[in-house]
Every structure is written in structure tokens, then in C-alpha cells.
């Protein structure tokens, strides 16, 4: 499983709990700030892993790659998480669509984003150096919605602090990780049989036993 670092913790927890034999490789979540780099990084890793005879899946939605991850999946015969972003997986596409129809100026947070907001948003967008850019980035947002996976007091406090920075109301929706788990189940489940398989060639290789996690710089 090649996954976004923002989902890595959840995937590791789900895989361990479900006893899935997957080798988890996390790419940096900060690639989301340069989404054109996600597919090339995933491709290099996927080819290496396929070269080792492993079946590969992507723990990514489209994630701003605008179809590049779909092309990669098609080329390598692999699958990814559905939807445009992990928000779709966590909250469900219908709920998300309704949210944006009700208020297009909705800024979404997840537990990961709440935890890493200062590093992955403020620092990455240059707001620590250029605080005057705040209205350029966020001037049109009208509310914050935190899609919460597993709340606790420190996270609640951090989310409230972020909402205070925006000066906007915060809505919390407890999504948990059920949606992600259901989609992962489909990813790690049996692949639809390829034509060659039906005609008698060798079956796809199986993953090794045990959960292994690796981070990639």
C-alpha cells in the first residue's frame, strides 16, 4: 500500500486491527502542496514494489492530481481510493457535496490537518513569513468543518485555535474512519480477475505476511 502520509496512521491502525498482511509505504503528506509530484513519486515506488512481486494499491484519492493517479493506476493495473480527496473517503461524497452546495466557502480539516496545520498549511503557504497573504488564501472562506476521526481534548483545543485564526465558526463532524476502512477493504480484497488469469496464466502474487510500515522522504 502506497499511501499519503496524512492517511498512513489510520491505515496502519486499520490494517493491524483487521490483520491485513500489507506493507505500508507512506509518501510525504506535504506533496499535496505540489500535487503534480504525487503521481511520479507513487509510480517510482509502485514499480519498485511490483518488481519485488508485490501487489500494489494506492492509499490516495485523486488528491489534486487531476487524473494523473488514474492514468498511473491504468498503466500499472492497480487501484486507488475513490473520490477527489480523502475527505470524500472519510465523510462520504454525498455528504461532502451537500456541504459545498450549502456553503462553497467551506474549509475542511481532518485530524491530521488539525494536528499539522501550523507546519503543513501556515509554513507551507508562506504565512509565517508573509502573514499579509492570509486574505489571499482564505479571504473567501465562511466556515470551517472538521471531519474528525478521533477527537480528544488537545485536538479540540487546536481546532478551536485554528477557527480563531480564521475568525470563522467551526463545525465538527465525527466521521471516524469507517468510510476509509470500507474503501481499504475493497482495495486489499481480491482484484477482479484479469483476462490472462481466466485463460489459465499464473495468479497474481500474494503479499507477504505481516504489517510493515515504511516512510519515504
Amino acid at each position: 500500500m502506497i499511501a499519503c502520509g496524512a492517511l498512513g496512521g489510520h491505515i496502519r491502525e486499520i490494517a493491524a486491527r483487521r490483520g491485513w498482511a500489507i506493507e505500508l509505504h507512506c509518501l510525504p503528506s506535504l506533496l499535496h502542496n505540489h500535487p503534480e509530484r504525487i503521481a511520479p513519486a507513487a509510480e517510482q515506488l509502485a514499480r519498485d514494489l511490483q518488481g519485488r512481486g508485490l501487489r500494489v494499491a494506492l492509499g490516495y484519492a485523486d488528491c489534486g492530481s487531476y487524473g494523473a493517479l488514474d492514468s498511473l493506476c491504468e498503466r500499472l493495473g492497480i487501484r486507488r481510493l475513490p473520490g477527489l480527496h480523502c475527505y470524500d473517503v472519510l465523510a462520504g461524497p454525498g455528504r461532502l457535496r451537500a456541504m459545498f452546495e450549502a456553503e462553497p466557502g467551506t474549509y475542511l480539516l481532518t485530524d491530521f490537518l488539525v494536528r499539522s496545520f501550523r507546519r503543513s498549511v501556515l509554513a507551507e503557504l508562506g504565512l509565517e513569513e508573509y502573514p499579509e497573504l492570509w486574505p489571499d488564501y482564505f479571504g473567501h472562506y465562511r466556515r470551517l468543518v472538521w471531519l474528525a476521526q478521533s477527537r480528544d481534548a488537545p485536538l479540540d483545543a487546536e481546532a478551536a485555535a485554528i477557527a480563531a485564526m480564521f475568525g470563522l465558526p467551526l463545525t465538527v463532524i465525527d466521521t471516524g474512519t469507517g468510510g476509509l476502512e470500507r474503501e481499504l477493504e475493497l482495495l486489499v480484497g481480491p482484484m477482479p480477475p484479469p483476462l490472462e488469469h481466466l485463460t489459465g496464466s499464473s495468479p497474481p502474487p500474494t503479499a507477504p505476511d505481516g504489517l510493515v510500515t515504511r516512510r519515504h522522504p
Binding site: Y66, G105, G126, Y141
Partner: protein
Amino acid sequence: MNQDELLRQLYDFTLVGNAPEVLSLTNQGLAMGLGPEMLLYEALIPSLEEVGARFERGDFFVPEMLIAGRAMAGALEVLRPLLAETGAEPIGKIVMGTVKGDVHDIGKNLVNIMFEGAGFEVIDLGVQVSPEKFIDAIKEHKPDIVGFSAFLTTTMPMFKANINALQKAGMREQVIIMVGGAPVTQEYADVVGADGYASDASAAVVRAKELLSQRRALARA
């Protein structure tokens, strides 16, 4: 400081987005008797083009683009009325807006600055612009070009909705339609029936000039 030094400094400070210095040098240049066109075309615009080139190469990222754009916008506030006083007609008029359902406007705002710097009159309708609002603006301002911007794959279909609305209003042929935004491609622009697409702010200006020149040549023929 002589003219060349001032222009070089104006270029350099725009490149790094030092808005106070850019404003100060713009005023100093004017006080020295330099024309607003010279400051614009020999320092500010080339600098912003270099910012775009560095962004393309991956040397600059969004914050650097924005900070340079803001510095240039500050200078334009001073130069705009002076350019108008020279009596020079804008080379074209463009109505711009981010489509309905979309609040993202960083790219659009950078495109606006490049258009204005290139001598266009820009009427910016802001974000979440409905087809009806685009139509009203076209009726009111009679632009040469209308630009639709979208950042989300979910809002890109509004390009087609806008174009359909223009057709229904019998106004499709009155304006050149350009589209842009992070998820937009030339193929998508072709599918929705836009006249032009560009992948970045500098290219948008070049494409707009081409389309305008073709339209005017046709009108003359």
C-alpha cells in the same frame, strides 16, 4: 540613482515582492520624469514574467508569486490613473470571474495583474459568479473577452453552463471566451466550446492578444 539603476531596482524588488520598495521606487521614477509606461514595461512586467518563469521551473512557489503580485498591484494603483491620462486606449477589455460554487481566486488575481500590466482593462467580478452575473456584466461593459476561472473539478462544468447561458442570451458571438484554472486543460476547453485556454498567467495574456487580433482581423475583412 540614475534611470537604469532605478529600473533595475524596481525589477529586483518586484521579483522578491518587496511592496514598500516597489511603491517607493515607482514614485521616485515618476518624480525623475520617467513615464508610467517605462516603469511598467521595462521593470514591473518583465519582473512579473520572471516570477512566472521561476514558478514554472519550480524555483518559486505560490507565496512568492503572490507576494510579487501584491507588490506589482501596489505600483499599478499609482500608475493606473497616469496611464489613463496619457490617453492611451486599453488594448482590450476583459471581464473575469471565478465560476459559481468556487471561491478560489489566487490564479485569477494573478492573471488579472498580468492582463492589466499588458494594457487590458480588467473588470473583475470576483468569486462565485453566476451565469446571470456574467451576462449582466457583458451587457454593461461590452468586453472583448470574458474569462472563466475554476479551481475545482466539481466547478469546471460551470464553464459549459456559462457558455450555454451566453448562447441562450444570444451573446455567444459577441465575446471571446477564455477559460483557465488548475484542473483545466486545452482538451477540456475545446470540449466545452471555449475560444481560448492558457496554462498560466503570462500565456493567458499572449493567447488573449492572439485571439483579439484574429477577431479584429475578421471584423475588418
